[in-house]
């Protein structure tokens, strides 16, 4: 392993993931967290991205505190493809040498991060849920769950830069912190015939993309909901509480709900004020995604269900009876 002169590296960089002209929420969450890290490191938080016509994102990344915005614009980079995006990003990182690079642990981010880190021979920590600066040596401490959330590991990267991490959406809060970023445009020459990967077709599954981390109340259902049609009960109660509905992995696998509604290790991490788990047994992978909720109300017919081990309040009973009754009674109380 080649030891680098790590002193050459400065600033915290946050990758701005974008799709259809919109920034992914996780990138703004990471800018907010990145600003805290930059303060501890006595440096600046900067945004970076590649694509076609991305300069207009400067306004939004500025609202979330980015001091500089590094971009490469090229029509070949319009849509995400691993190799050309990787090469352009590796070029930027090689040139400007950030000490930290954070990327959202989304489908795109996870595809990208592994390939960028390998090109740079950089250390990369996946799916981080906590980021801190070690006060003694200023190394980034990245804490992540493994074994389906059963074990946590704190990872650090003493001799290589940038220190890279992917971070789950919803772990950090996006906080506005108005700045006017300096836009630094760079050129990376690439032509379409140099890219062997072609996108033949894109299909949206029709379901809106839901960012469950926006919501302070989540009514979530598991296999105990019985059938797809019963998921309406989750939505009804969620509407009464001005929240949203979600599901467990088993419900997604059964084809009752899209993956965009899934809470858990392979879905979204959430930390609402109130999480109602209806007919969810409480597999470790699900619990890993919701256990930091303030109040957890679990409803399950099986008194032995592991979900009760993490619930603030447990109800042994049939969620199909309890949810509609809850919606009805809460509605009366909340309307007043």
């Amino acid at each position: 392993m080649i030891k680098q002169d790590i002193k050459q590296y400065k600033n915290v960089w946050v990758f701005i993931e974008h799709n259809d002209g919109k920034i992914e929420r996780v990138s703004l969450e990471l800018l907010s967290k990145g600003a805290e890290l930059a303060k501890d490191l006595n440096c600046e938080v900067c945004a970076f991205t590649v694509g076609d016509k991305v300069e207009h994102f400067a306004k939004e990344v500025g609202e979330y505190g980015a001091k500089k915005f590094y971009i490469i614009e090229n029509s070949v980079l319009k849509e995400y493809r691993t190799e050309p995006w990787r090469n352009a990003i590796v070029y930027l990182i090689d040139k400007y040498k950030p000490e930290v690079a954070l990327i959202g642990a989304t489908t795109l981010g996870r595809d990208l991060a592994g390939t960028v880190a390998t090109k740079l021979s950089a250390g990369l920590t996946a799916d981080t849920t906590a980021l801190d600066i070690d006060p003694s040596n200023k190394n980034l401490l990245m804490t992540r769950p493994t074994f389906g959330g059963n074990l946590m590991a704190t990872i650090f990267c003493p001799d290589n830069r940038p220190q890279m991490s992917t971070v789950r959406p919803g772990v950090f809060k996006a906080v506005k912190n108005q700045t006017t970023p300096e836009v630094i445009k760079d050129k990376y020459d690439i032509t379409e015939d140099q890219v062997v990967k072609k996108i033949i077709e894109k299909v949206q599954t029709g379901e809106e993309k839901v960012n469950l981390s926006f919501y302070e109340v989540i009514v979530s259902g598991g296999k105990g909901m019985g059938k797809k049609e019963n998921l309406k009960l989750l939505e009804d109660l969620a509407n009464v509480l001005s929240g949203t509905w979600a599901v467990s992995r088993k419900v997604v696998q059964a084809g009752w709900a899209p993956q965009s509604r899934q809470v858990g290790q392979t879905g979204q991490t959430v930390h609402p004020k109130i999480y109602i788990a209806a007919g969810i047994s409480g597999a470790v992978q699900h619990v890993a995604g919701m256990k930091s909720s303030d109040i957890i109300i679990a409803i399950n017919t099986d008194p032995q269900a592991p979900i009760f081990e993490v619930a603030t309040y447990g109800i042994v009973g049939d969620c199909l009876q309890i949810l509609p009754k809850m919606a009805e009674m809460f509605k009366q109380k909340l309307v007043k």
């Binding site: 390939t115 390998t118 996946a126 389906g148 059963n150 033949i200 109300i297």
Partner: protein
């Protein structure tokens, strides 16, 4: 068509429990399995062989006991199996692991022949990083297709393949030239029942052992010492305390729950 599948042997995560007294995982009696995502990679490679001919090689990095996983891969229809096992790999992070597997793949290519498709599961269920597949593809310098849910079309003569992969909120169909690397979702295929002939072949086919003495692996790029990321500490997350069970008639339960959460609802401005 020659496929090379990278697999990992993992403890069955569903059976791993935490000892909260000691803050460690209880692994005794937990069976070792092929990483479930990787079984779909093996199945995909075998289905391509069934359709277009050729062979399937499988490479696993791990301790000597991981040869069990390779025996299972043979029973699923693999033809050549390689175990990359050496103390110099101990403690490798994903960057070092992708290097060792890349070097192992070079040996497989040397022994069996050029590879058309490299496969791996999208991630391992113990580490959950999803970084090793992209890392190997980068070192192999082949196009990467992650989160594959459908092999749409294989054209061996034009050396092209069309894959449907997951996006957030949708899918996309990608066309790439071979060789390429594909990482698989569980929904890519169904694992078929192995015919008896595969089982017989599995019993007869030896696991080829690869290590730092019979490959060109550079030991200074592997192992804990040469991994950029280090583990500072490992710990079990604080256990959330089991709360209060609420009992009574349906109306009583719901009223009680409402009273419990009313202060929070007020704080949220819902009341």
């Amino acid at each position: 068509m020659h496929s090379l599948v990278f697999i990992k042997q993992v403890p069955d995560a569903a059976q791993v429990r935490v000892d909260y007294e000691t803050g460690t995982l209880i692994r005794e009696g937990v069976p070792a399995i092929i990483n479930p995502f990787d079984t779909h990679a093996i199945e995909a490679a075998v289905q391509i062989k069934d359709k277009f001919g050729g062979s399937v090689s499988v490479l696993c990095m791990g301790p000597p006991m991981a040869d069990e996983a390779l025996k299972k891969a043979l029973a699923m229809g693999a033809d050549n199996v390689f175990l990359l096992s050496d103390r110099v790999f101990a403690g490798s992070d994903t960057l070092a692991t992708s290097y060792a597997l890349w070097a192992g793949a070079q040996k497989v290519i040397q022994e069996i022949g050029p590879v058309d498709i490299f496969w791996a599961g999208k991630q391992a269920i113990d580490g959950d990083t999803a970084q090793t597949g992209p890392g190997i593809a980068t070192r192999l310098d082949v196009p990467l297709v992650t989160y594959a849910v459908e092999v749409k079309e294989v054209d061996p003569s034009a050396k092209k393949i069309k894959i449907v992969r997951l996006l957030e909120g949708g899918t996309e169909t990608i066309e790439v030239p071979m060789p390429c690397m594909i990482t698989t979702e569980e929904t890519l295929n169904h694992i078929r029942f192995a015919p008896l002939s595969y089982l017989i072949k599995a019993a007869k086919t030896p696991v080829v052992l690869l290590n730092s003495s019979n490959t060109t692996i550079d030991a200074s790029q592997c192992g804990l010492k040469n991994s950029p990321t280090k583990v500072k500490k490992a710990f079990t997350p604080p256990k959330r305390e089991r709360g209060e069970m609420i009992e009574g008639s349906l109306d009583e339960i719901i009223s009680a729950v409402y009273e419990k959460i009313e202060p929070m609802l007020k704080q949220l401005g819902r009341v």
